[in-house]
Symmetry: none
Subunit: 264 residues, 2 copies
């Protein structure tokens, strides 16, 4: 096993949250994780997250393929679910070659990099989801994203290697920042910040719990699709913290036929 000791990071890449998280879902090949780490570090990104990696972890092949980006691998976080991996993020993009049957804004890597820079300037954390090598992201993963990201490839040969996709997004992030990243985080007013995905999930679960109690989701085959559809509606709304509290209050009020101050 190659050395996994912490490597001293350079000043440019030290601060947590100084760039988007790269989230690999069910990656099969350790080499691809290593090449992803290299591509990230080439453009100053360090926040790598692995959801249910299909390769052993840690893995010597990842280390050798990273060509020295050990710090990124060493600090990679492992998650059981995509939902947990994005819980602290405010904006989430999902890379996909196939634009599926789903209502979402779509951006190319350049557009999404600009979106993320704007979000960061307002103190919001961002992340990018990348699916498994052959099959890409599940629909349930796509439902967790507010934006789909598509690279304008040759339509007859569109499948990008995983690390190549990461590279393009990392590169565009860098390009969109010029030489500078914002040095000051500014929020406007209490509750005006975008809700984190964790707060949004709590709302979803609350809502779905009430729907379950009402028997709304009782048809088993339709349940997950129905939930996905409803989550997609709220995802598109990109709610603020205050708005999530409001919506929770709405659900409580309607479900219990009374308004309780302590609920929101």
């Amino acid at each position: 096993m190659a050395n996994l000791e912490p490597t001293k990071r350079d000043a440019d890449t030290k601060t947590p949250g100084d760039g988007p998280a790269v989230i690999l879902v069910e990656t099969s090949l350790a080499e691809n994780v290593g090449m992803t780490a290299r591509a990230m570090m080439n453009f100053g990104l360090t926040d790598l997250r692995l959801v249910r990696p299909k390769c052993k972890w840690p893995h010597a092949k990842a280390i050798s393929a990273s060509s020295g980006a050990h710090a990124v691998l060493k600090e990679a976080k492992i998650f059981d679910t995509t939902a947990e991996a994005v819980a602290d993020l405010h904006r989430v993009g999902a890379t996909t070659a196939r634009l599926r049957d789903m209502i979402k804004p779509v951006q190319d890597p350049r557009g999404w990099a600009g979106t993320m820079r704007d979000a960061f300037a307002e103190g919001n954390q961002c992340g990018i989801l990348f699916g498994a090598e052959r099959v890409g992201l599940h629909n349930d993963d796509l439902a967790l994203a507010d934006t789909l990201i598509t690279v304008p490839t040759n339509p007859s040969f569109s499948s990008l290697n995983l690390a190549q996709s990461v590279l393009l997004l990392s590169y565009e992030w860098q390009m969109a920042g010029g030489a500078e990243v914002p040095t000051e985080i500014r929020r406007k007013g209490r509750g005006a910040a975008l809700a984190s995905q964790g707060e949004v999930f709590d709302f979803y679960e609350h809502l779905e719990d009430e729907m379950d109690k009402a028997g709304f989701l009782r048809v088993k085959e339709k349940r997950s699709r129905m939930i996905r559809n409803i989550r997609n509606i709220f995802n598109r709304a990109k709610m603020t913290e205050q708005e999530v509290r409001t919506m929770r209050g709405v659900v409580v009020a309607i479900a219990e036929k009374k308004w309780r101050k302590e609920d929101f």
Copy 2:
């Protein structure tokens, strides 16, 4: 040895000279040639040239790493010298991480892609030189180029994988040609049409009626503001007809603790 038979090329990538030549000098790893071919084809490039490859050629590993970009490999041309490889080109860029003691214009990939598009529009052929994995291009190779190309990487971790460099240049070539992705995916089929404002208002009134019944809107001074806030959330979601029906079903279910098919 994998199949090296000519593959039928698609119309987009057929014409010779419809994009810049990618010229790899003294490449060591056949996998890198294969991944280069894949990256090229991802963005519609087909003219691959190899100067003194250090790997056996053709090579099974190149073919497997190309993930199907066989046509590019099959038609790759081999040269003894870089000078011969660029003889038919009018503009030549050389990729280098280190900006050496040489008087040349320097561009980033985006700038160089624009330069090449301009050159092509005037009937001039272009090419991009890429050096060997560890050492990059010789000074003699750089001397054959009219422009140096540097990717703005993290200064403390600047070494890009060879195929990654090819990818960035191919991608910027494609982007400079005005590649576009759709800006939004809309579901197709029944119920996929955007809901009319009338349908959306009916939903609002239904929701607000339930909120009133629950006493949620009883504080008069805040009522209109609260209603406005909630309407804004759903407004941003730009719901389809089907989604409005779904949300109405959700409200009925939660409010009445039972699911009635006739409601949505």
